[in-house]
């Protein structure tokens, strides 16, 4: 069993590069995924992820182990950084030029095309949500965090998170309803 996050952070502050990289490898996927879904851009997600871990090096005293785990703290930092990108994206609505970089998982070109199209529809539907609604939906549905942890990440009360999550789901369902009726987003 590896060292705890607290021990790794202490070693990092003492100049242990391997400890810092271990922290990064533990938390990079969640941070990057969250930032990617918040900003809708792989470049912005990479920027957010990088800034998030550099911030841990710059001001390590901001992290309080008594309040939350290191993963939650990093997620909160990624949330704050993502909101800067997302707020600009929310105003400008650049959803049309978002490009999906991942290879399609489908075996055939037609299936790949359909999967890409479904992903695009979901991504655009998420982009229509307000950032405060989008973040709680991403944390709850994609990262499977419970309400208490989401409240810590977004800096709100659990009740407020619950309300935001409910409104986000309702809005998203209304947005996707047209595609669901057309049969494009049929759930297997």
């Amino acid at each position: 069993m590896g060292r705890s996050d607290g021990a790794l952070l202490e070693a990092t502050l003492a100049g242990d590069e391997a400890a810092f990289l271990e922290i990064y490898r533990r938390h990079r996927d969640r941070i990057y995924r969250f930032a990617y879904r918040m900003t809708g851009s792989p470049e912005a997600a990479a920027d957010v992820t990088h800034s998030c871990f550099v911030g841990l090096l710059e001001v390590p005293s901001r992290y309080d182990a008594q309040r939350a785990s290191l993963g939650t703290y990093l997620c909160a930092a990624a949330r704050n950084l993502s909101l800067r990108h997302a707020s600009r994206a929310w105003r400008e609505r650049p959803v049309a030029d978002l490009a999906e970089r991942q290879p399609a998982p489908g075996p055939s070109p037609l299936e790949s095309l359909l999967e890409d199209e479904r992903a695009r529809v979901v991504r655009e539907a998420l982009a229509t949500l307000a950032p405060l609604h989008r973040e709680v939906l991403i944390l709850a549905e994609y990262e499977d965090l419970d309400l208490a942890v989401i409240a810590l990440v977004v800096g709100a009360q659990v009740g407020a998170v619950k309300v935001r999550l409910h409104r986000a789901r309702r809005k998203l369902r209304a947005t996707l309803e047209i595609h669901m009726r057309s049969g494009m987003l049929l759930v297997e």
């Binding site: 990289l21 990479a46 992820t49 479904r118 992903a119 208490a148 659990v158 409910h166 998203l172």
Partner: protein
Amino acid sequence: MKQDLKPIEEDGPERDELRALLRRWRAPQAPPEIEDALQREFRRRRARRRPVLWVPLAAAAALIVAWLVRPANLPFSTTSPKAPVVPVSSPAPPLRTAEPDRSSGATPAVAEPGRARRRSTPWPKQPQVVVEPDQAALLAELGRTLSRTRQAIPGTAIPQMPEVEVPRYLEEWQTVTGEWPLVQQSDAMGGR
């Protein structure tokens, strides 16, 4: 379970359906360039931080070395007793910088201004008597006169007062009644 953590009932089956739809949007893996950039950033910060750590250590080591190799007969040596603090209001003792004591080799040839008040010999433990310059001369003259007198008449001592019996009327007093302020008189006088 806390009230706030209870799932929303209306999100039951619809939530599962929505979640299945959301899962169609997959996020890519974090690119390896981030790790490389963070590694470079970490090394850059560590290299920049190293001199900051070594500067106070080097300064402390230099101070220790300077303290260890100092001349043993310096007036601020730790073996010499600590000079007492002279109050600012009292006149400072005369400094002997103009005429250094040649008999003791510990005194430097040229007294430095900052070290002039430090002495290698302990201060006298008697209380310091502050007098005017004329008074000091008078006291010195008085001392010399007394010394000469004692040398001229050996065995001179302060004459003792003869013991005298106290009269009885001084021991027995009583208050005179009817007088204000209170008046006391001796029994011998009252009995007259």
